[in-house]
């Protein structure tokens, strides 16, 4: 009985199991909808006879193209190859002739002229020019904008430049002329031929320009996320909790702190939304300067200099038809990207947009790059600091030749240096110095520039490295001439009467390798504003800070001597009170010869005005008394090289610690208003003081302590 029941039970159980197993699966499959089968069932089928399919072109077809005579341009359109005659630009590079205005010279015209004259592009002879520049200005004589110029020639090799949108209709056909105008639409813009300019405000600085307004890398946590450009000018900031308010002007319903900034006030926000109307083009530059990432809500406008500038690194061009997507993307943008975009806005502003001169030079540089073809600036040079106006493609087109891109390229400067010894008037061969330098393990060659009246001695000491003597140079700045004989990146510039030891040279070179973009020297100077003379002065006295190192003993990169003669500007003409011969700026991006015009005011030296102000402020004086009298400038060409050399000889440089570079940092007092105007009248012609104040630090050997240095028993793997 029991067993029977058990049997029955078991039978029932097993039967039900079977049923469950058999029934459940089909039921389950019915109940659970099958997942969409990605790719396989609904996707493009794998044809059974795919192997038999024929190729899209027959074997001979690609090769046997019927020959056809080259076609000329069709339609009214132009491109670079068809409408520009580059043969005129051979040899001398880009030479630009600017038409003078027929009537009274307008302000815009004057500024364009001023920024081209004195540049290396300028020529006053229309016949030898390869580019003829016709400025279109709005305030020339009534009615017409500009008459057809004399050498028009159908517009060939002409650049019609309108900095401000011209209100008057053009009275002539553009023909084959290139057009450089502010914010053109993508519909009319001819890629690779026209140049897109930024829409400059009327009062844009001619030279130098205001620095970017970004004061810190990362956005402040409390800063508004969005600012919206308003139609009448001005900005409207929305709080961080925003909806799709920037569209359709529904921002009023938005919660959170709101603010309206009228007129020229620059927004303090992370992203600046700019709708696509034409007047908004000026907002673009405002946002760029403020370090507020421009978000263009319309792709209709060609961005300025889009041919060379990679705007994806500094701005976001999007479509306002996807509002939720855009807002979500902005909210979720990783901090890393925000940081990169913000920094790029500042770099671009400083490099290409902050002054009329930079805008014009960038335009010409773009055209020159087209002429150069293969030896044009690589994209990296345009899009990373210090920018293509300072990293000249005539020096090299390879980024690793410049001191600025080692980190990006993962490269290092070449591990040797060339010593350049300048022998001045006394004409005594610097034998001791040569021995000391030649003893350095890093020295590759020694070059003696014999500039004395006396003839050089016939015999020179035997050295381990090649020694070259070249004569006949009289000018002091010849020491910066880019001699072809120099094969290394690093150059040690020396005066004959400097005295250095081998280990000092070695150490300085090691430091330079860490900072190839800076000058690394032994003796320092400082600059200051001299109220009595109304100009800048310098001092060699010992102080807590410095801004220059003397090239009587300093390392610098080869590229710094390649400023190019056309770009240099005589320092004497720039200011009356300083002779800049001996000291060269520590500002790493300025070739010594072109310090004046080319060093951006901000790249390395953002606080020059304030620093000087603070330096003079009584409060600061109490804290850090200056050991020298500021009323007595030691400039005016008074300090002879001998003076500095004597301090070199007084044993300062003997101590390993003092061979370390010294620099000074702008120590502006907190009372100085941020970004406020300089208390000093700007020096005429002098756009910015390029000298970089540096912190009160110098670099010393890590083992410079009075303890025995541990010799390494182990070494690093190669």
């Amino acid at each position: 009985m029991q067993s029977w029941r058990r049997k029955a039970l078991l039978l029932a159980l097993s039967a039900s199991w079977l049923l469950v197993l058999l029934g459940a699966f089909p039921l389950l499959r019915l109940a659970v909808p099958t997942r969409p089968r990605a790719g396989a069932s609904q996707g493009w089928p794998r044809w059974l006879d795919a192997e038999l399919l024929q190729s899209f072109s027959q074997p001979g077809e690609l090769l046997e193209d019927a020959p056809e005579p080259p076609q000329g341009p069709r339609g009214g359109s132009c491109d670079w190859g068809a409408c520009f005659d580059a043969s005129k630009c051979r040899g001398g590079g880009l030479k630009v002739f600017v038409y003078s205005a027929a009537g009274p010279v307008s302000e815009t015209h004057r500024r364009i002229l001023a920024s081209i004259e004195g540049s290396r592009y300028h020529t006053s002879n229309a016949a030898e020019a390869c580019l003829l520049l016709l400025p279109l200005t709005r305030d020339s004589s009534a009615g017409e904008c500009s008459p057809v110029p004399p050498q028009w020639n159908g517009g060939r090799n002409h650049l019609v430049l309108s900095l401000h949108p011209a209100p008057c209709p053009r009275t002539f056909q553009l023909g084959q002329a290139m057009v450089a105008e502010a914010s053109p639409t993508v519909d009319t813009f001819r890629h690779g031929f026209d140049v897109a300019l930024p829409l400059l405000p009327e009062a844009h600085a001619l030279r130098g320009g205001a620095p970017g307004q970004l004061r810190q890398h990362s956005p402040h946590p409390r800063v508004a996320l969005l600012a919206l450009a308003e139609e009448r000018g001005g900005w409207h900031t929305a709080g961080t909790n925003f909806s799709a308010c920037p569209w359709d002007g529904r921002c009023e319903q938005d919660h959170g702190p709101e603010q309206t900034h009228p007129g020229a006030t620059l927004p303090n926000a992370t992203f600046c939304l700019i709708p696509g109307h034409r007047p908004d083009a000026s907002h673009f530059l405002q946002a760029l300067q403020a370090g507020c990432i421009p978000v263009l809500l319309s792709p209709r406008w060609e961005l300025p200099f889009s041919e060379v500038i990679d705007w994806t690194k500094a701005a976001i061009v999007t479509d306002k038809r996807l509002p939720l997507q855009v807002l979500a993307a902005l909210q979720q943008m990783p901090l890393t990207r925000v940081l990169a975009l913000r920094q790029q806005t500042q770099f671009l502003w400083d490099a290409y947009f902050s002054s009329v001169e930079k805008v014009i030079h960038t335009t010409l540089e773009i055209i020159q790059d087209r002429i150069f073809g293969a030896s044009a600036h690589p994209s990296l040079l345009w899009n990373s600091p210090p920018g293509a106006l300072l990293a000249l493609s005539t020096f090299s087109t390879s980024p690793s030749d410049f001191p600025f891109y080692h980190v990006q390229q993962g490269s290092r400067p070449v591990g040797r240096f060339s010593a350049l010894i300048w022998v001045g008037a006394p004409g005594k061969p610097p034998l001791k110095l040569i021995q000391a330098v030649a003893g350095s393990q890093h020295c590759a060659q020694i070059l003696v520039l014999w500039s004395s009246e006396k003839p050089p001695p016939p015999r020179w000491p035997e050295t381990a490295v090649p020694l070259t003597v070249s004569e006949g140079h009289r000018k002091v700045s010849d020491r910066f001439f880019p001699y072809n004989a120099i094969s290394t990146d690093a150059i040690l510039s020396l005066d004959a009467h400097s005295s250095l030891s081998t280990s000092e040279v070695d150490f300085a070179f090691v430091v330079w390798q860490s900072f190839p973009e800076r000058m690394v020297g032994f003796l320092t100077w400082n600059h200051f504003w001299d109220e009595a003379l109304g100009g800048w002065g310098y001092t060699a006295e010992r102080a807590n800070e410095f801004s220059m190192v003397l090239t009587s003993a300093a390392f610098y990169h080869r590229r710094l001597r390649a400023g190019g003669p056309g770009r240099s500007r005589s320092p004497q003409s720039a200011t009356a009170s300083i002779r800049w011969r001996q000291g060269s700026a520590t500002c790493p991006w300025c070739p010594p010869a072109s310090v004046w015009t080319q060093c951006s005011s901000r790249t390395r030296c953002p606080y020059y005005a304030r620093s000087i102000a603070a330096w003079r402020s009584p409060r600061r004086e109490q804290r850090r008394p200056q050991p020298y009298s500021r009323g007595r400038p030691i400039c005016l060409g008074g300090a002879e090289r001998g003076g500095s050399a004597s301090s070199l000889r007084t044993g300062q440089s003997r101590r390993p610690v003092s061979q370390c570079g010294r620099s000074r940092l702008a120590n502006h007092s907190p009372s100085a208003p941020e970004g406020g105007p300089s208390p000093h009248p700007p020096v005429p012609q002098l756009a910015a003081v390029p000298l970089c104040a540096a912190p009160a630090l110098r670099l010393c050997g890590a083992g410079a302590d009075p303890l025995p240095a541990m010799p390494f028993s182990t070494s690093l793997p190669s």
Partner: protein, 733 residues
Amino acid sequence: MPWAEECEEGAVWVIMCAAVKYNLRGPALIPRMKTRHRIYYITLFSIVLLGLIATGVFQFWPHSIESSNDWSVEKRSIRDVPVVRLPADSPIPERGDLSCRMHTCFHVYRCGFNPKNKIKVYIYSLKKYVDDSGVPVSNTISREYNELLTAISDSDYYTDDINRACLFVPSIDVLNQNALRIKETAQALAQLSRWDRGTNHLLFNMLPGGPPDYNTALDVPRDRALLAGGGFSTWTYRQGYDVSIPVYSPLSAEVDLPERGPGPRRYFLLSSQTALHPEYREELDALQARHGASVLVLEKCTNLSEGVPAVRKRCHRHQVFDYPQVLQEATFCMVLRGARLGQAVLSDVLRAGCVPVVIADSYILPFSEVLDWKRASVVVPEEKMSDVYSILQSIPQRQIEEMQRQARWFWEAYFQSIKAIALATLQIINDRIYPYAASSYEEWNDPPTVKWGSVSNPLFLPLIPPQSQGFTAIVLTYDRVESLFRVITEVSKVPSLAKLLVVWNNQNKNPPEDSLWPKIRVPLKVVRTAENKLSNRFFPYDEIETEAVLAIDDDIIMLTSDELQFGYEVWREFPDRLVGYPGRLHLWDHEMNKWKYESEWTNEVSMVLTGAAFYHKYFNYLYTYKMPGDIKSWVDAHMNCEDIAMNFLVANVTGKAVIKVTPRKKFKCPECTAIDGLSLDQTHMVERSECINKFASVFGTMPLKVVEHRADPVLYKDDFPEKLKSFPNIGSL
């Protein structure tokens, strides 16, 4: 394949059920049975088991049968595709609209609900189109177009839901204009279900135009459809709307061509095209006459023996060369315009690592919207053709090698196969629609070796932060209140201190009452943490408002105010670096073949301790969210080496060394147990060495940089009145 997945599921079910049954019934019952019954039950169980197995088999079989139906449906023959008859009067789309741009002709709303910033692409199913009289409009599909559609279908872009698609790709093959009837193809396009004037439709065409005038864009009327075309000229290319693609070279794809590294080659300049305009041929001959053996101009072979494919051979006088192998013998290779602007030879040339010299005025190079052709090619205007030799000779050798490398990389990444071409095209369109998620210039153009070697410093702008902003000191503490209060008092004397943040890492004990804390001139905040972890020290707290952060231990009371202020000044000059006081070094131990941590007196420094160090607060963010591998959890588990991890992180992202300030070597003071008290311990050193080895393996490289200098105040140790110095109170070792 989906049925396979379900089968596996079924099998798992069966086994699991069997196991359950056996466990429940079998072992529990059998021991109590009599022998007779046992046999009976065993038989019963075997029947049940057999039943189960049969179930499993049953589950298995029907599936495969059903699936094989699917399979046969899927694996159809091209001959079986449905035929569509086009009436002679069916509508024709308008000709291509030259003024089309993304913001005018593209319906971006359709892409609004695509997740992950990826457009969705729908492919129309294949049909065979015939005209009224039953004559086919074109070959149904070519091998390349089939490959192309397969590639799209296999990619992330593909969707089979026509309603969610943002981009439509017709299956009508227009790769070669010569192989189709223009009017009828246009009619076929117009009757596609979502045609809507061609909005959001993408056509692929490699050989546009036909004799005699060879237009540079597809002649099929296509209205607003996007065109991915090979051989665009500036007159027909709609910048920012069309995509310029390469002309695929099916012949060379069959040849196995091993990569050849850059460097000088036998011929300086080579021309391999056979069908050239006589004018160009004359120019080439003149070039060869002028420059002799360094220029090689190849022609079609005339007297080849039978069976040798003519397309694989090129001749110069009586010499016969293999094509495309001969391209590897030249530094520069000509790509001249033929009847069409786009030439398949470009692809061959790139593949051979030969730098293309493109002589085709107004030609839009493939993918020129994203690729920087200046890095891989030389474009010479047609009128300058006679100067081409001198133009090329003016390029320095290093740049040539760079271009050769770049050319080969372009081929590998974007030209190699139909799939590469299709995906690059879709990526370009995708980047236009989601510009905030677009690939950067570097991602498109840098070869992998460069991407690997380069460092993109996140703080690349040499921006000197204003001194007035000051710094935030972060003190990590557990329960050493007395020492903590002394640190707070000392640090608060530093003029540039803006805020003090105490990270209270002890969950078992409350921080002292407000009234007990020292009164200081700056805001003091206490943050309580949820867990006692070392990484709390590097958390990007919202309270940090300054860019500079001073990380300081709760027992570092020996640093003077001058030292700290000076450290801050140095940090401002180098905001992307770690600026700290005691320096440490990593060394390679040749005996043990691994890295070793060194805290003894050395001439070099590669790390600074974060017991007191200034850095940018961005590195807090990186440490917390972007630390590679398991380093963060490793540090928390070992309660050690957080400073080494920070040194690795900063050196890795910036590619720069640390800055050591002041002569200070150790944090030693008589009354406190400094961290270096521990450091002297031998086991501690071993542990630190282990950290370095661990981190180096996680980073895959040794990012630390060794320097031989440190920063001291300008007048440090100078013979100068102490009271006139900015930082007189710089402590000793």
